[in-house]
Amino acid sequence: MAMQLETAQVVEHRDYGGGYRLLKLAAPGIAPQVQPGQFVHLRVPRLNDAVLRRPFSVFQADHGTLALLYKAVGRGTTALTALMAGDSVSLIGPLGHGFPLDGPADRVPVLVAGGYGMAALYLVAQRLPRQGVVCVGGRSARDILGVEDFTALGWPVHIATEDGTRGVRGLVTAVLDAWLGEGRHGRAPEFFACGPNGLLQAVGDRAQAGGWTAWLSVDRHLGCGVGACLTCVVQLQDAAGEWAWVRSCKEGPVFESRQILWEAETA
């Protein structure tokens, strides 16, 4: 399960909807090793004055290829849009500790995503041996991604948008709370969440109130991606109440909700 430095080839690069693009790469070394919630660190071609690679959650992976979802928001992702089929891209991966899939079999997996956060959750649904439910939220209908991918796996998807253009009007917690109230029929959930800090904290609060487990994928600014530079730290506490800055690229990006001290995140 060692990480690798691999030169991958672009096999597909297309619009995915909502302003996102899907980049599919042939990476026979990395792709078969990817666990749900892990990421790759990509050197953006032709971005010669950038000293850092750019991290991307692995959206989909099979024996030879992996797919990334991104939106052109900064210099790195804008430069990525120029990639064409056949181009080479340097990757380091798979990186980080992803979502554990060995939770108790009597728990209903509940995936909670904020917009693009669903990219880190698709492999959880695909690889879990039991079916669960997806709650996804976004600002508007165009921010709701991948619903068809989850429904194709047989997972029901509950949608909330802040402007009400798709699903329930409100935050993702609106559909999550509805499911927790009436949808779960007494069954205990296990949460898998990826999205903004507010969403992660809200999921964690519900898990802790109910005595359940919530696996949260934090999104930090990354440096080296392999644990050397200590850029991407998250404030974690241990059972004794001691806290430390912990690397999200190495020990994370997935942590159980009780580990994270949110005061430092929101400060």
């Binding site: 060692a2 990480m3 690798q4 430095l5 050197r43 004055d49 950038a50 000293v51 850092l52 690679r53 340097s90 380091i92 930090r220 600014h221 440096g223 080296c224 392999v226 644990g227 050397a228 530079c229 200590l230 850029t231 991407c232 730290v233 404030q235 430390a244 800055w245 190495k250 430092a264 400060a267």
Partner: protein
């Protein structure tokens, strides 16, 4: 012609080639070991260690700038004892000199961490990070105050027989004075430069990007500045100099060697391409072959001007 000799004796540190990885850019060994054969490095400089554990700064800790990176990690480290117990054994599996970068907040802390580490087996040298504020004496950094710089070096020198390599701050006006002071206080080699104090601002919030406000700039952006300082320092002393600052290619490293560096360290470029130190060493060898040079030592300080 036989293969050129890349080996270097850096003030008692015997290196198979002149290319090391700089402190803080390669962790404690395991971080890149899956990607890079550590046995092929000239030396491994461990991330800065203090006597006691230190938590470091809140994030954001780094920001990328044009051809550079500003960092304010804040020297997070597990302390000398945990380093020796949990981290050094991994590095000792490899045939590579281990140089430990050390720092303190007082002269006494520097001396204490040097003493603690010197009692352990398996270290090749100590590199002194003097770019820390002295919390006892006005928070001036050790590396920018000549008398304080001499005191901390003298105190550490008394506590260790390991080769001692002070890492100089990029003092544009006084680099020769610091280099000579280091030599007089018993340093076995010098490394320079440390990162350059720098600032980035978020124009939307008008706040500094880094939680620590300022940080240290590294990467290709600082290379020409570092090169001039290395050139000046190398002329001022007889002890060997390690050139550091923005090295990403063999050509960069060769510039430092021609300017007077006996060895070089690759830093920020490790984040871009983890194998940079290896490709730099290979490129130096190719250059020596191309120029009919039998050893890398022959090239050191051969700048013509």
């Amino acid at each position: 012609m036989s293969a050129p000799d890349l080996s270097v004796n850096l003030g008692g540190v015997r290196m198979r080639n002149p290319v090391m990885v700089a402190s803080g850019t390669f962790g404690y060994g395991p971080e890149y070991a899956d990607l890079v054969d550590l046995n092929r490095l000239g030396a491994f400089v461990v991330k800065g260690i203090s006597l006691d554990p230190w938590r470091g700064n809140p994030p954001p800790r780094t920001v990328e700038t044009a051809s550079g990176l500003i960092n304010a990690i804040g020297l997070q480290n597990p302390g000398a004892d945990v380093f020796l117990r949990d981290h050094l054994p991994f590095l000792r599996q490899f045939d590579v000199p281990v140089i430990v970068n050390i720092w303190g907040r007082t002269v006494e802390e520097y001396a204490a961490v040097a003493e603690r580490l010197s009692a352990a087996a398996g270290l090749a040298a100590l590199e002194l990070n003097v770019s820390c504020p002295n919390i006892k004496e006005g928070r001036t950094t050790f590396g920018t105050n000549l008398p304080m710089f001499r005191r901390v070096l003298a105190a550490v020198r008394l506590k260790t027989r390991l080769p001692l390599i002070p890492k100089l701050a990029p003092d544009l006006a006084q680099i020769k004075a610091f280099a000579q002071a280091a030599e007089e206080e018993g340093a076995d080699a010098l490394s320079l430069i440390n990162s350059i104090p720098a600032l980035a601002i978020d124009i939307e919030t008008r706040r500094p990007v880094l939680a620590n406000r300022t940080g240290g700039l590294s990467g290709p952006a600082i290379k020409p500045i570092a090169l001039k300082l290395v050139w000046e320092a190398a002329q001022a002393v007889k002890i060997p100099v390690v050139g550091i600052g923005g090295i990403a290619t063999a050509a960069d490293a060769l510039e430092f060697i021609i300017a007077g560096a006996s060895a070089v360290a690759v830093g920020t470029a490790n984040f871009t391409e983890p194998t940079t130190a290896l490709t730099v060493a290979d490129g130096i060898r190719d250059y020596l072959v191309r120029h009919n040079l039998g050893t890398v030592k022959e090239l050191v300080g051969t700048i013509l001007c």
